[in-house]
Each structure stands twice: as C-alpha cells, then as structure tokens.
C-alpha cells in the first residue's frame, strides 16, 4: 500500500503542474462567476440558477479534467520512457495503476473542493447570508465525485492500451452513451427483433450508466440540491455502490491489460 501511496503522491504533484488543469479550473470558476449575473437577470429562482450553473460546470469541467489528464496518465510514462525505471523496481503493475488512479482522484478531489468553494462564494454574494440548506449542495458534489471516479477509471483503462487522443474519444463516447442506458432499455421494448432487444438490454447493463449519478425526474440529485431538498439517502447509497463497484471492475480490467503489455 505504501508504494501505491508514493505513486499516488507523485501523480498528484505531476497533475498539479499540468496547465490544462488550471485552464479548466479557470473556466469553471468563470462560469460560476457568470451565474451570479445570470441569476440577477431571472425573476425568482436566483439561487437555483447559481446552483444549477455551478454544479453543471463542476460536473462538465470535472469530467473534462478526468478525461484529458486520465488518458495521458500511462501514456506519459511510456512516452518519456520512465515506465522502464518503474517496472525495473519492485513495484507491481497493479500498484502502479492503482497509484495513478488514486493520484488523479486526489487531484480531482482538490479541484472539486475549490470549485465548490467558488459556488458557495457565488451563493453568498447573492444573498450575503449562509443557510443551513446550502449543505445539501454537497450531496450533489459527492454524486459528481462518484461520476468522476467512474470517468477516471474508464480513461485510465483505455490509456493502458491506446493513445491519449483515442482514449479521450473512447471515454467521452462512453460518457455520452452512458447517459442513454435507460433509453436503451426502452428501445428494447419497441424493437421488433427479440434478439436485438436482448442485445440492447444487455448493453444497457454492461455499459456504465451515468444517469445513476444524476437520476432523472424528482430524484435528480442536481435538481434536489438546487431546490435545497435533502437528498434521498438510498439514492446516494446506491449510486455510491454502483460507482465503487464499476470503478473497481474497470481498474481490474486496466491492471489485467497492463500486465499483458510487453515493454521490450
């Protein structure tokens, strides 16, 4: 575990120096700033607009950070040939992958904290007061963190066998498709061919389901936060279980692929 933590710390330091991180962070904070002005254009729901814009920016730019940095994690080591130094040392490949993953996750966590602080600042600027209900927003931030966990795991898995550009394209495509899992199940009902229908249902379960972290309709975590409703605990717990289990599965797959790679 010590080796994993050392790799994680190094990855964290490396990520912190990445310019793309600061660019995306800047954009997020800029959007959060703009939301204050937009909230004032609205009639009613000023706080809701700030929360919606902030959470959407945090989620979207967090995903982009996870994709752009995650897909380059392994490739950079190969490109700079530093991987040879690493694998020549008594470090298991699984420890390397896990360390890289934890390093990026800690970077994302710090980013989420900064972005959330920006969102809270925007809320404070609007009302010049703090309400206890503001804490409910953290539930949505947690759901975003779970989503980023999964995106990072996908990006890392692709980066073990593909180039950063292709990995980014694959991860982004999966992220989009992952929002349509429920629709895929519905599609199965209207398809004439039973076989195609079964394939659709199988795919909807096999592919990562990102709508689990937002939930459509009344239980939508982002919407609940925007209306200052207490989050549904069961929804959060199920999303947590899904996020951890699917990420673990992808990391196992990443380790498996990485172990098969020949660096000669």
């Amino acid at each position: 575990m010590r080796k994993v933590l050392i790799i994680a710390r190094t990855t964290f330091k490396e990520n912190i120096r990445d310019k793309i991180l600061y660019n995306l962070l800047f954009f997020t904070l800029a959007i959060i700033g703009v939301s204050v002005a937009l909230g004032q254009v609205s009639i009613g729901h000023e706080q809701k607009i700030i929360i919606d814009m902030s959470l959407s920016a945090i989620s979207l730019f967090g995903t982009l950070i996870a994709i752009f940095i995650g897909t380059g994690l392994v490739y950079k080591e190969l490109d700079k040939r530093t991987i040879y130094n690493l694998i020549s040392k008594p470090v298991r490949r699984s420890e390397f992958i896990l360390g890289k993953y934890l390093g990026l996750m800690s970077t994302l966590l710090v980013n989420l904290a900064l972005m959330s602080a920006g969102a809270y600042l925007a809320l404070w600027l609007l009302g010049k007061s703090v309400q206890s209900e503001f804490l409910y927003v953290l539930a949505a931030v947690y759901a975003i963190f779970l989503q980023l966990m999964l995106v990072t795991a996908i990006a890392l898995m692709f980066s073990t066998f593909s180039t950063p550009v292709l990995s980014a394209v694959f991860t982004f495509a999966l992220w989009v498709i992952g929002h349509f899992s429920t629709e895929m199940k519905r599609l199965a009902d209207i398809l004439r061919s039973a076989v195609t229908g079964h394939i659709c249902v199988a795919l909807s379960y096999a592919l990562p389901n990102f709508s689990n972290f937002t939930i459509s309709g009344r239980e939508n975590l982002l919407k609940s936060a925007a209306h200052f409703h207490a989050p549904q605990l069961t929804t959060l717990m199920l999303a947590t279980a899904y996020g951890f289990l699917y990420s673990a599965l992808l990391l196992t797959l990443a380790v498996f692929i990485f172990q098969k790679r020949d660096f000669k």
Binding site: L38, V41, S42, I43, G44, H45, K48, I49, D52, M53, S56, S59, V176, H179, F180, E183, F210, S211, F213, T214, S216, R218, N220, L222, K223, A226, H227
Partner: protein
C-alpha cells in the same frame, strides 16, 4: 530593417488587424440584427426529447428556458413591429417540464400569459392551463390557487370559477385565512372595485419580487383613479341637478359644498375635467398607468354613491 522598425511594424499590424476585425464584426452584427423570424425560433418543442438529450442537466435546461422566457417577454420590438408572444407558452412549458418544482415559472408565466396586448399575449386560458400543471406537480402550493382565481377574476371575469379556485386553495394546510374571505368576496355581492382592490392588496402584500409589488401598486393606484373619477363624475351630475348650471371647473364642486376638496390622483397629478363630455380623466402627467375598469363595475359603485348621497341629504343638519 532595424529591430525597432520591425517591432513598430508588428504593433501597427496588430492594431490594424484589431480595427479591421471590429469593423467586420460591426458589419456582421448589422446584417444579423433582427433576422426575419430569428427571434421566433424554437428548434425543439418536445420537452421529453430534450430531457432525454440533456445528459442529466435537465435542471440547468429548465433555468435556460426560464431565462429565455423572461428575456423573450421583456424584449422591446422595433416601432414598426408588433409584439409577438408565440414562443412564450412553449418556453414556459419546456421549463416546467424539465423542472416541475420551479414555482416562479408557473406564477410569473401565468401573469405574462394572461396580460393583454400590448404587454402580453392576452391568453388567460393558457395561463390557467399552466397553473393547473403547477397544481398537479406541486399540490400543496396554495399560491397557485390564488393565482388561478386571480386570472379567472381579473382577466376572465368569471367570479364563480375564481371563488372555487380560492376556496380550493384555502383548504390547504399552509393557506392564509384571508384566502377564504377572498373566495366569499369574489362570489358574493361585492362590487368589482372592492373585489379588485382586495385582490391587488393581497397580491401586493404577498409579492416576492419588486416587479410584482410595483405592478400591484400601480393596479391599486389605477383602482383609486377609477373610484375618484366615478365619484367626481357623479357629483358633476348632482351639481347640475341641484343648481341647473353646467359645471365649468371642478373647484365649483367644493364651492357648492358637494365635496370638501378635489382629490389628486395617487401620483399627485390633478384630474382633468372635460366640460363637453362631463367626464373626469387622469392627467397626462400622471405617473400611474391607468387600466380603467369595465362599465359593469361602475354600476355597483354608482348604487353605493346614490345611497351615500341620499343618506347625506336626509341626515339631520
């Protein structure tokens, strides 16, 4: 070329490029200003389709459509254009489908929809439809019933339907006591002026935003103008009956003892008297936007004035 000259040339080039870009952009903007049908385009009107494409950001989409509805309603057309509100209802429908809990969208949306031209599309039935959707999605919000009754009473002049809406709202646990009396007032014998004043007073007191409060204040002032006009015109007739002379100046009413003083309108502007029409009108300088009540409303008030006049005439000196 010296290094200094090269730098000057580069700086000049950058400034020139920036000026050219600005010029080109201005030209593009002028060509694109008010493109035919540009403002009236709503590419996707199916909320369900949009919700599925929203990738979980449906709450944000609701905000975007609400902001768009506010901008759309508040835009100022060119003088040659007539204000169209064709997109208002679809925008409100989209916003409330993405987020059915946005209470302000139902309330302000109904207000926007029911206002008559030129300040609104004059579609109170669509406003009722929107409020019914709000009630269906948020059955415990009494304010929707108040707004529904308001639209029935003010825009559709349907006192019974208004009373029913107020009563339904009054049954909700969080509803204020006055909602029940509002139901009684609107269904009872009270004149339109009293009912309207009661309604706008509560709209003013319950307003959550300054724009609504200011609108309610203006309507209350407008009702005051109605009352003043009717009273003064009534006295003009009585003056003529009493003296056999035609009134030339409102101050003659004071001299004849019909009234103690001539009121000014709520903005402080004096009323204007038209001798030929025997009518009293708000001054052009008045700061109140006047929405005159219909003639039927005047009849009930006229009866009240008659009985007041009779009581004053027969009262012991």
């Amino acid at each position: 070329m010296t290094r200094l000259n090269a730098r000057l040339l580069a700086t000049g080039g950058v400034i020139l490029s920036m000026l050219l870009i600005y010029g080109v952009q201005v030209e593009i903007d002028q060509r694109q200003a008010h493109p035919p049908g540009g403002d009236e385009t709503l590419y996707v009107r199916d909320p369900e389709l949009m919700r599925r494409l929203s990738l979980g950001y449906e709450s944000l989409l609701a905000d975007i459509y609400w902001l768009r509805a506010v901008q759309y309603y508040g835009r100022k057309p060119k003088k040659s254009e007539t204000q169209s509100y064709a997109m208002l209802e679809p925008l409100l429908n989209l916003a409330t489908t993405f987020d059915p809990e946005m209470t302000a969208v139902y309330r302000f949306g109904a207000m926007f929809l029911s206002e008559s031209q030129p300040i609104g599309p004059g579609e109170p039935l669509k406003a009722i439809e929107l409020l019914n959707k709000g009630i269906m999605n948020n059955p415990n919000v009494w304010r929707f019933y108040f707004d529904k009754g308001f639209v029935y009473l003010w825009h559709l002049k349907d006192h019974k339907a208004a009373g029913r809406a107020f009563l339904e709202g009054a049954r909700l646990p969080a509803a204020p006591k006055w909602l029940e009396s509002l139901a009684a007032t609107s269904m009872g014998e009270a004149g339109e002026l009293e009912t309207a004043r009661y309604l706008w007073t509560h709209e003013f007191e319950e307003a959550e935003s300054e724009s609504v409060r200011s609108n309610a204040r203006n309507h209350l002032n407008s009702l005051q103008i109605d009352e003043d006009r009717w009273r003064l015109e009534f006295l003009v007739t009585k003056f003529q009956e009493k003296t056999g002379r035609v009134l030339t100046d409102l101050n003659q009413l004071v001299n004849a003892g019909c009234i103690r003083f001539i009121p000014t309108d709520p903005s402080g502007a004096p009323y204007e008297y038209d001798r030929d029409a025997k009518g009293v009108y708000p001054a052009k300088a008045s700061k109140v936007t006047y929405f005159p009540l219909k003639a039927e409303a005047r009849k009930v008030f006229q009866q009240k004035l008659e009985s007041e006049w009779e009581a004053a005439r027969t009262a012991p000196q």
